[in-house]
């Protein structure tokens, strides 16, 4: 017997509301194995391959390439071979009649993240579902990891919800957990952002006007995401800006002393950025409000210090996250930086690499900047940049000395933060950086 199963857009991250189909990897008629990617999707946070939840034949694509659809929307239908048990005959009919219901998006995939067992069906559950023509995505799971147990199916049958006439009831039941989620969700603004990014297509217009004409470059999805995030940030967050100057002469000496050994020992570069992150993290510990976000009626101060690191490529910028950065020493941070930079270059960042940032650091000095005005990585409270280290004559004790100096710039959400507190924070960063000396330890 054959059963039709819908593949839906999963909730890849807590804040995601929609995703765009980038490319279909499978076409109607193709065989798909379980967990085999069927398409590539693009979201605000990450680009990912979407694996199939079942094995079977792809029979229909419901959402075309380039279209953006909300999380939970069915995007294709896969025909699976049933167990062949008695009573299965009606199951496909129910599936077919219901798959057109726009509201009846299965909650299964939505709960995937915190319910890893939601889509693991035991033989007993599958058999019962087939016998009673139940769509398992409608059945609430009470087992381990959200698993649907045999008893859940029996209870569902007993409740009468399995009958076709109660589609609405089933929908209501499915909506329930989502409503709870919505209530628990933190509101960050009144804006609603669903724009459809189109796929990149570069066209050269003909000689429409005078001169040599213009090139029109279609916006790529990642460009669109950056644009949207930047616009959301600057339009919602009242930015303020401040800068401080740091004497990193001792840090330069320290790094020069240690870098060759470090390369030999760890196989990676010992960058200034690692020291800066350490200094920033320690300063955040002293001024925790820097690690917060605006939530309209409250300010949420994050306990975890997860540093998002702006990593640029030729045509985009990503902000992978160093989780629990306060638990790591300088060497550990250096390794994390190296790892994330490598993943970014190779396009191998995973969703978990991108999630949970609470404060962003951008090493703008790496491309030669000496001063920059960063846009806050929404919805965080502040972003800090580390500018180029340059040798400058500096007056110390009424004498002129040549010192290695660097600027540190900070953009802040003025709803949360003010000058005094940010000044104190930057002073802590400065003190931390200047207190590195030849005796400082990496481990």
């Amino acid at each position: 017997m054959k059963t039709m199963t819908e593949i839906v857009v999963p909730q890849l991250a807590e804040s995601l509301v929609s995703a765009t189909i980038d490319k279909w990897l499978k076409q109607p008629g193709d065989w798909v194995d379980i967990y085999e990617p069927v398409c590539e999707i693009i979201t605000d946070k990450v680009n990912a391959e979407l694996p199939s939840t079942v094995a079977g034949k792809l029979v229909q694509i419901l959402v075309g390439k380039g279209e953006t659809v909300p999380v939970g929307t069915p995007i294709c239908i896969i025909e699976t071979e049933g167990s062949g048990a008695a009573g299965l005959a009606e199951a496909p009919l129910v599936e077919k009649s219901e798959q057109k219901q726009p509201g009846s998006t299965p909650s299964a995939a939505i709960e995937m993240e915190d319910a890893p067992m939601r889509n693991r069906f035991s033989p007993a559950v599958q058999q019962l579902a087939a016998e009673h023509s139940i769509r398992l995505s409608d059945v609430p799971g009470t087992g381990l990891g959200g698993r649907i147990t045999r008893k859940d199916v029996l209870a569902y049958v007993a409740s009468g919800a399995a009958n076709g006439s109660t589609v609405a009831a089933a929908n209501a039941a499915m909506q329930a957990p989502r409503t709870v989620d919505a209530a628990a969700q933190v509101r960050s603004s009144g804006l609603h952002l669903t724009e459809t990014p189109r796929l990149p297509k570069i066209e050269v217009e003909g000689s429409a006007g005078a001169g040599r004409g213009d090139n029109f470059i279609d916006v790529t999805p990642i460009r669109n995401t950056i644009a949207r995030n930047m616009r959301q940030s600057v339009s919602e967050i009242p930015h303020a800006w401040t800068m401080i100057e740091v004497d990193v002469t001792n840090l330069v000496l320290l790094r020069n002393k240690l870098k060759d050994d470090f390369m030999k020992r760890e196989g990676i570069n010992l960058t200034y950025l690692a020291f800066l992150l350490k200094a920033v993290v320690n300063a955040i510990k002293d001024v925790p409000i820097m690690n917060s976000m605006w939530a309209v009626d409250k300010i949420i101060v994050k306990r975890d210090i997860n540093i998002a690191l702006a990593v640029g490529t030729e045509d985009s910028v990503m902000t992978p996250v160093i989780k629990n950065a306060d638990h790591k020493n300088v060497a550990g941070l250096a390794k994390e930086i190296e790892e994330l930079a490598r993943k970014t270059r190779e396009g191998k960042l995973t969703l978990s690499d991108m999630q949970g940032g609470t404060f962003t650091v951008n090493n703008t000095g790496s491309f030669g900047s000496i001063l920059s005005y960063p846009i806050i990585n929404y919805p965080q409270a502040a972003i800090l940049t580390f500018e180029s280290i340059v040798k400058r004559p500096v007056v110390i004790n009424d004498m002129i000395a040549v010192r290695s100096m660097a600027n540190i710039c900070l953009s802040l959400d003025h709803r949360i933060l003010d000058g005094v507190i940010c000044g104190r924070f930057l002073q802590r960063v400065k003190d931390n950086l200047e207190s590195f000396n030849l005796e400082s330890k990496l481990y």
Binding site: S122, Q126, Q127, T149, R150
Partner: protein, 327 residues
């Protein structure tokens, strides 16, 4: 109906069978004058005389060999191994002779023999007084193996074993002797060999076991009931031949099964029960088949913490049952 101890039920069964049939006799180490090291045979020699209650030398292969010979000659011997740990010198007699004589002689000879052997630990007995040797004999066609848990079954199964025309290994749990009590009728009844028994009805999880660990299972099930977990408990009672229908029916009730025994996990009875379920009931399983057994270590430790680690107890059983229920 009288409530008596497990050990009394065993003694009563022997007494009643010896009363009923003159061919029934008992032999073993210290079973006569002493009445057995556990007092299982106490009073039997006084009642039936030393020709029917024989004190033997400390030679288990001789006890088994003599009993096999007598059985082939038409007697109904009940041979006692003082501890099942001491049974291994008799293994060749049991496996190569007793188990095979009917087959080898094309039904000309039979061996209506019962070998009683106390199994199990938790009595500070260490290596030589705590073993569970079921798995050594379990895969031997031609042997029947019973392992009662309730006094009622202890009596009924021993009587059935005595009357069975083929060799039966009767594994009684020494920890049960005084610990487990229950109602046992005075009249002559038997518990059929090859039939499992539902100790408790439930619909969340099925627990299958035999012998002493069922005590923990029953306690744990009572505790878990207050947590809303309803356990269905099946006492195998007979290990060879296994009551397939009984097992399948019990598993069908819940689709989640936990198999428990004190014998170690690898190659134990639970492995076979699990295989039967997997062969017959794949489509009715709602969870992976779970086993909770003794660890695969060579012997029961004599030190109390080690013994505690080795043995099952109510808490270990309850935790496993809860895990399965939550799955």
């Amino acid at each position: 109906m009288a409530v008596i101890e497990y050990i009394d039920a065993i003694r009563k069964a022997m007494k009643e069978e010896m009363d009923r049939d003159e061919d029934v006799f008992v032999l073993g180490e210290d079973v006569g004058i002493k009445g057995g090291v556990f007092t299982t045979t106490k009073g039997l020699q006084e009642q039936f005389g030393e020709n029917r209650v024989l004190d033997t030398p400390l030679a288990e292969s001789a006890i088994a060999g003599v009993a096999i010979g007598a059985a082939m000659y038409g007697m109904k011997p009940i041979a006692e191994m003082q501890y099942s740990d001491f049974m291994f010198p008799a293994t060749n007699q049991i496996i190569s002779e007793a188990a095979k004589i009917r087959y080898r002689s094309n039904n000309d000879w039979t061996c209506p023999l019962v070998i009683r052997a106390p199994i199990g630990g938790g009595i500070f007995g260490g290596l030589y007084h705590s073993q569970c040797p079921e798995s050594v004999f379990f895969g031997t066609p031609g042997l029947k193996i019973v392992a009662p848990y309730r006094p009622y079954d202890a009596k009924g199964l021993l009587k059935a074993a005595v009357r069975d025309p083929d060799p039966v290994l009767y594994f009684e749990n020494k920890k049960c002797y005084k610990l487990i009590t229950g109602e046992v009728p005075d009249d002559d009844y038997i518990v059929p060999i090859g039939k499992a028994n539902v100790l408790r009805e439930g619909d969340d999880i099925t627990v299958i076991g035999y012998s002493m660990p069922l005590h923990f299972v029953e306690q744990a099930a009572a505790d878990l009931e207050s947590e809303g977990i309803s356990a269905h408990i099946l006492d195998l009672r007979t290990l060879q031949p296994l009551d397939k229908e009984g097992i399948l029916e019990a598993v069908r009730k819940t689709g989640k099964v936990l198999i428990i025994h004190e014998d170690n996990k690898t190659g134990g009875v639970g492995a076979e029960v699990s295989a039967i379920i997997a062969e017959e009931l794949l489509y009715e399983l709602d969870a992976p088949i779970m086993r909770l057994c003794g660890p695969d270590v060579p012997a029961m430790p004599i030190n109390p913490p080690g013994e505690k680690f080795f043995l099952l107890n109510k808490e270990k059983v309850k935790e496993a049952m809860r895990q399965l229920a939550l799955y």
